[in-house]
């Protein structure tokens, strides 16, 4: 097992393309080419044991695809995922991957869709226990389920109820209990509070922090809400159209954003502290990922774009401890 601070997950050159062409016949009849959507197009990062590493970016930039690749819900088109030093992409069969899969679990955004409505809560929470044969007898399953429910702030007899009897926040607690039941070390949390009201979000974020401290969990946390990211993260990766444009520790990213897209995102945060901070005007929209702009994909929206930006994709390079993919930063003009 890796030491604290050592990488528990490493992602190397990871890519996932989707074929979004029309059906073959329509293509042939209408003479249309195949269309490929590069949802994730070559990204690298490492998550250290015990930390919260976050991915942030606008809708469609590939955050959920990265999450699903890591937990094995998608196969990569290219690249590697190492978990605790073992290359999961090299383990062909599900059976070979199973021991590692137990150690990582996922929590989804929609607490309504992600729980089977016909199962009692106790069966939902016990499912990973049974799937991974983690406890031997029915007696201990019940005990473990009760313990898990209490751990997430529900009561043991909530196990008898069905998901529809719970509010959104309570359902997200059930999802967390289910994710924890296999004793994972690593949780992938894809927008776990985005469907919740802020007061409920606070309950869930506090619970997640408590559990992390108590159980020594490592989180990959995904959100489009920068204030939430700022609150939960140790390190942050900012994504734009399938690539990482900046990776830095949360402190420096939020106090001293370097990449022009990170700065744009920070500028969109409403000023709740009411400091009277003037916001820069934000221009443009995210282009289609089917036909991303050449060179730096951000160049049509970037106030600092130069000739090179239109031609050449910038590599993710280290600058003062952060990783930044920007010609402007590399050339020292930003």
């Amino acid at each position: 097992m890796a030491e604290a601070g050592q990488p528990i997950v490493e992602v190397v050159g990871l890519a996932r393309y989707f074929d979004v062409s029309k059906p073959w016949l329509a293509r042939v009849l209408q003479g249309q080419p195949r269309l490929t959507l590069k949802a994730v197009d070559g990204i690298d990062f490492a998550i250290r044991r015990g930390e919260t590493f976050s991915l942030v970016g606008e809708s469609g930039c590939g955050k959920s695809t990265v999450a699903r690749l890591i937990v094995g819900l998608h196969r990569p088109t290219r690249g590697h995922i190492r978990f605790d030093g073992v290359d999961l992409t090299a383990l062909g069969t599900r059976a070979a991957q199973a021991p590692f899969r137990r150690r990582m679990q996922m929590i989804f955004q929609d607490p309504f869709a992600s729980l089977n409505p016909r199962w009692r809560v106790r069966d939902i929470v016990a499912e990973p226990l049974r799937a991974f044969a983690l406890v031997a007898t029915g007696e201990t399953v019940a005990g473990r389920v009760a313990e898990l429910l209490t751990q997430v702030g529900l009561s043991a007899n909530d196990g008898e109820k069905y998901p529809h009897e719970f509010s959104g926040g309570q359902r997200q607690r059930i999802s967390i209990a289910r994710a924890l039941s296999g004793n994972p070390e690593f949780l992938v949390c894809d927008e776990p509070t985005s469907a919740l009201d802020v007061s409920v979000q606070a309950q869930i974020l506090n619970l997640m922090k408590d559990l992390q401290r108590r159980l020594g969990l490592t989180y990959l946390f995904i959100s489009h809400n920068l204030a939430v990211i700022d609150h939960v993260s140790d390190r942050v990766g900012v994504m734009y159209l399938g690539r990482l444009c900046e990776v830095a520790d949360a402190q420096s990213l939020f106090r001293r954003p370097r990449h022009p897209y990170t700065r744009l995102l920070l500028d969109t945060i409403p000023d709740l502290a009411m400091t009277g901070r003037a916001r820069g005007p934000v221009a443009g929209e995210v282009p289609s990922p089917i036909a991303p702009p050449p060179g730096c994909a951000f160049h049509p929206r970037c106030p600092h774009a130069g000739e090179r930006c239109r031609l050449e994709a910038p590599a993710l390079l280290e600058h003062d401890g952060a990783l930044i993919a920007c010609h402007g930063v590399e050339e020292g003009r930003l």
Partner: protein, 327 residues
Amino acid sequence: MALLEVEHLRVEFETRRGNLIAIDDVSLAIEEGEVLGVVGESGAGKSITGMAIIGLLEPPGRVTGGEIRLAGRRIDNLAYDSMRRIRGKEIGAIFQDPLTSLNPLYGVGRQLAETIMAHTDASPTAARARAIQLLGEVGIPAPERRIDAYPHEFSGGMRQRVVIALALAVNPRLIIADEPTTALDVSIQAQIIQLLKGLCREHGTAIMLITHDMGVIAETADRVAVMYAGRIAEVGPVRDVVKSAKHPYTKGLMGSIPIMGREVERLSQIDGSMPRLNAIPTGCAFNPRCPDGMARCGVERPDLMATGGPNRAACWLYAPLGVAVHG
């Protein structure tokens, strides 16, 4: 006289399991050109309040008490046709999903021109010219070329711009905007809010901005009303509500929001959840969750009262300071 006056509004839903009171004695006013924010958790009654004002409550929802007046004229008891005329001409609406406001079968220009012609005596040519101008105003690039495009040919953010153009087409005096940016990307949200606010300021249009996002309110609203379980818990100038909330619920709500740069290990949290309509506690609806509750809170229901600052709050903590406004 305020532009919009809502007094003692009550909305009920008749269901098989009895009457549910969704809005219970809500009073609010919006001045000419003012932006009133309405915030609260899902189910607090924000949308139902907005729908009642524009006369679009769906059965079994029904206004069962109170009055709504626009520029002094009662509009809650109008016949369908008179209300429809007011809806296009004097009150515009923007909803969360732009597609609910746009007809997928017609080009956006045609929809704009038809709205303009229905409420003014503009000729088709003049209406089309005005439509192009409006699309330009809401930031659609090359509007003369985009005018015949269909809604599906626009991105979500662009569609919401078209809806704003539609809502502003005949210079209404009030716009009800219900979660206008919730479905949009963060970078687009800021654009849309700035646009809406700028245009309304230019045209002198008042806005009732309904959202669950306190950040949007903080940047946009002049005053804000905080709703909880079908009632207004607190109302006041936006700065006072955000920075010095008086009602224990508003305080808890503000503390639960992660704010950039505010280093806290834990967010302050309000335990429990908002009650469902069929189980609203007696007395103050917030009392089972309230850290400051007193004996009286479980028995008597507080109305909005003075707090010693610019805010009014429906909370017994302020009873000695002011006289409860009974209605």
